[in-house]
Amino acid sequence: MTGIAAKRKRLVTVFVSLFLTAGSLLANPTAAAQPGASGNALAGLSIEELLDIAVYSREPLGLHHTHPQGEWMFGYSYMFMSMDGNRDGSSRRSPADVLNAGFAVSPTAMIMKMHMLELMYGLREDLTVMVMLPYLSISMDHINGADTRFKTAASGVSDLSVTALYNIYDKRRRRVHLTAGLMLPTGSIKERGTTPLGPDQKLPYPMQLGSGTFDPVVGITYVATETIWSWGFHLSHTYRLGENSEDYTLGNRKRFDAWLVREWSGQLSSTLRLSGENWGNIDGADPELNPSMVPTADPARRGGKRLDLGIGINFYMPEGVLSGSRVVLELTYPIVESLDGPQLAKEYDLNVGLQWVF
């Protein structure tokens, strides 16, 4: 078993265990919600204090909402994404197919791990600012025509984003907010590594940590909440402005999310999410990369579209060290994928998040 496969198996085992635990809680919701667990904390509060308490949100991970003036939210999330095998259009391509297409090297698998720190602050009742700092670790397995396998890796801070969320409607359990943000080019686009060609080789586009350009992001989010159900959608568009220092511009990215949340108890809810994404090819080219060497170095083989289905669990922690925080687990699988390939295909991603409001 390769290192990547072993890590993947270990993570899936952990995640399945967590889901099974959540499943047993679903079967017996009262076990997850001891009577008065948070009621004890609320019992001594005056009516004014109760009216000032935030009720916790149930959105899936990565989707945000505005916060009341003066309120902070700190979040940490971890994403593990596995890509396995290649796809051209919607058809699978073996490494042999890729090599027979004229490339010297074929990628075979990729693992991306992302740690994300989020900080949100309610500037006004209708305006919240958010800063997100991702840290990426990427490793990619390859095979070449001589049947030699090798791995490249890169890690570091990715692009920092600063976003404003502006509430345009918040009444009767229906909420709409607009988002406008800017991703700053804090992620490296000069990652290098050792390949069969030698040490200190420029790594291909998907191994770079940032876009190298200032990227505005605009979006709109709608959230509706009922007693045990809530649902919503989010649309966003990421634009790439100008050309980076390596003479290329990543493709624009459009994304939508639609989700449904079922609350099983005060402490436990489950989420079902459908996410669609469409991203363009690269404009320009890094002169240090040879597009015929490996598909990941070809700017015309970076675009694609994908529809993902995600299932998740939200835990609210009424007691203990994490009291008042929200823990979110989500497993996402692609159900439709079409790539300007050959390009590595997504296998799944696992997400774990922790959020505190204070």
Partner: protein
């Protein structure tokens, strides 16, 4: 930039964990203001607090306890059972989940009408109109239809509407301090705003 890109994330995370665990202002386990709570836990706690500002007519004070009922599907879960430990003005709270209205008229001082009863809300409120029962719901338009207190969520906080005319018809007296915190609404039928 190179230093920024290649710093150890593990060190950063440990540093943040230390800051979060040692800073009094960020100590998430210590202060209620630092936490979020499930919606229906907050609403259950509010029902207890609201009851302190209500005066029932003498005739409805049969027995010492104050009986809190839920009609229809119970959205509170364990938070509703936890009300049994509480007292309001020296009177212990008792709780009951009901499936029909008749028993509510006989026993309940406070009746939370679940959203599962939305389609027959008008008829329920008409039958309870003159009963000394504090009717509560979290259904859009409840107070305008003649319910006494409606709980809503706005900007992650619970807010509430009170229909004063309905409380007067039911024979309940609501303390002015509670009315100051409420959004006062009137009946749709009466043409009130």
């Amino acid at each position: 930039m190179g230093i920024l890109i290649r710093f150890s994330f593990r060190r950063l995370f440990i540093a943040i964990a230390l800051i979060v665990s040692t800073s009094p202002s960020l100590n998430v386990g210590s202060a209620w203001a630092a936490e979020t709570f499930p919606e229906y836990d907050v609403k259950a706690a509010l029902i207890v607090q609201v009851a302190k500002f209500i005066q029932w007519p003498q005739t409805s004070d049969s027995g010492r306890s104050l009986h809190v009922c839920v009609l229809g599907d119970d959205p509170f879960g364990p938070a509703f059972d936890a009300l049994r430990d509480k007292q309001v003005g020296g009177r212990p709270l008792t709780t009951e989940r009901l499936q029909n209205l008749q028993s509510a008229r006989d026993r309940c001082h406070i009746l939370f009408i679940s959203r599962s009863e939305k389609s027959r809300l008008t008829s329920i409120l008409a039958k309870l109109k003159t009963s000394p029962i504090l009717t509560i719901a979290d259904t859009q338009g409840f107070a305008h239809l003649g319910g006494i207190l409606n709980l809503e969520i706005e900007n992650d906080r619970v807010i509430f509407e009170i229909n004063v005319r309905s409380s007067e018809i039911a024979g309940l007296r609501i303390d002015a301090r509670l009315l100051e915190l409420a959004i006062i609404v009137g009946d749709e039928q009466a043409g009130d705003k």
